[in-house]
Symmetry: C2
Subunit: 203 residues, 2 copies
């Protein structure tokens, strides 16, 4: 699994959800087609009359998510860029997705504007596995943001966290260690540690 494979999962699902934030700071969410995926870049389009267009041209931060039939979930949080060569990109998108002609026949396609996401962090989850598997990737050269729970050297080795973990993904040791690739981030270990040896990182 890598960043490109995750983008390809979103392309294969095709109808994925795109969240944006409006000028009042409110979240919006709708299904948008992933039109092309190439070289660590994801392309989509939307019409200039839509609230979605209005939102992302004012605030480019978006959060994309999709789940496929194998229960693999991909989340991508990044920013969108509007592409300047509008007709070139819309024509490429329609060539790759001919069903678009049913919705926007003839020249009406040029009410659509093309966008690319070439940055941000991806979270991959395989919910079909037990314990679940998770991995994080970057679409760009930025440092991966660490999220979740970590056991510090204050650990007294009592094993409370290991007994509580619903995914059984904590290994005994000095200190005990959470297997990050399998953690749900549920927080049960964190809440029940008798010496507060577990810290939360990230948001």
């Amino acid at each position: 699994m890598n960043a490109q494979t995750c983008l390809q999962i979103l392309r294969d699902i095709k109808d994925v959800s795109f969240a944006s934030v409006d000028e009042k700071g409110m979240p919006h969410n709708r299904i948008i087609d992933v039109m092309l995926v190439e070289d660590h870049k994801l392309y989509f389009c939307t019409a200039r009359g839509k609230d979605f267009y209005n939102q992302i041209t004012k605030n480019p931060h978006i959060a994309i998510t999709g789940l496929n039939r194998d229960f693999q979930m991909v989340r991508l949080h990044g920013t969108v860029k509007q592409l300047k060569e509008q007709k070139v990109w819309i024509n490429r998108i329609f060539a790759a997705n001919p069903v678009m002609n049913d919705v926007y026949p003839g020249d009406s396609r040029y009410i659509l504007e093309p966008f690319v996401v070439d940055n941000g962090q991806i979270e991959f989850f395989d919910l079909s596995k037990h314990p679940i598997q998770r991995q994080s990737f970057r679409l760009d050269q930025e440092v991966l943001q660490e999220h979740g729970f970590f056991i510090t050297d204050s650990c007294i080795g009592c094993g409370t966290c290991q007994r509580n973990c619903p995914q059984q993904c904590i290994q005994a040791g000095t200190p005990f260690v959470i297997e990050q690739d399998h953690c749900l981030h549920c927080g049960l270990c964190y809440e029940n540690c008798p010496v507060q040896a577990i810290v939360r990182r990230g948001e």
Copy 2:
């Protein structure tokens, strides 16, 4: 179609996407299970250790969306309320969704907190129809927010909008009229009206 039917579509899809906004104003999006739908209310849960829990307990505005295999899309924008009788609701949720025991066995289920959405606006789209069909509903007693494009009395009856409409959903008249139930909100009519007789309402 009505509000309850739309909630039932989300329950039938089950794995739908929930967008929230964090303290920095950034959008987040992930797949969450719709656990129960009853009497114009939608129930879900999440673990106290998750960023999602952190976000919605600080900012209850969320946007939910899902698309079923018949290409019916539902969007729900509202606010969440945390339910006080935590164990009662989590037990009800697990009874209705026994597969949850695989992820949170035994008492680990009580790291989850129950939430309800009983307010907000729903947008329904049937993308399998041509022209597409859309309808709006409220989950509460608030006034439906009108969105989209409307032709005013400034219309000169030239028919430019009707010729441009990709969904052919503009009827001739004095003034011409956009069939709101079939409109994509693409904005082509609005951009091309020679006398700016078309207005945009909503956001």
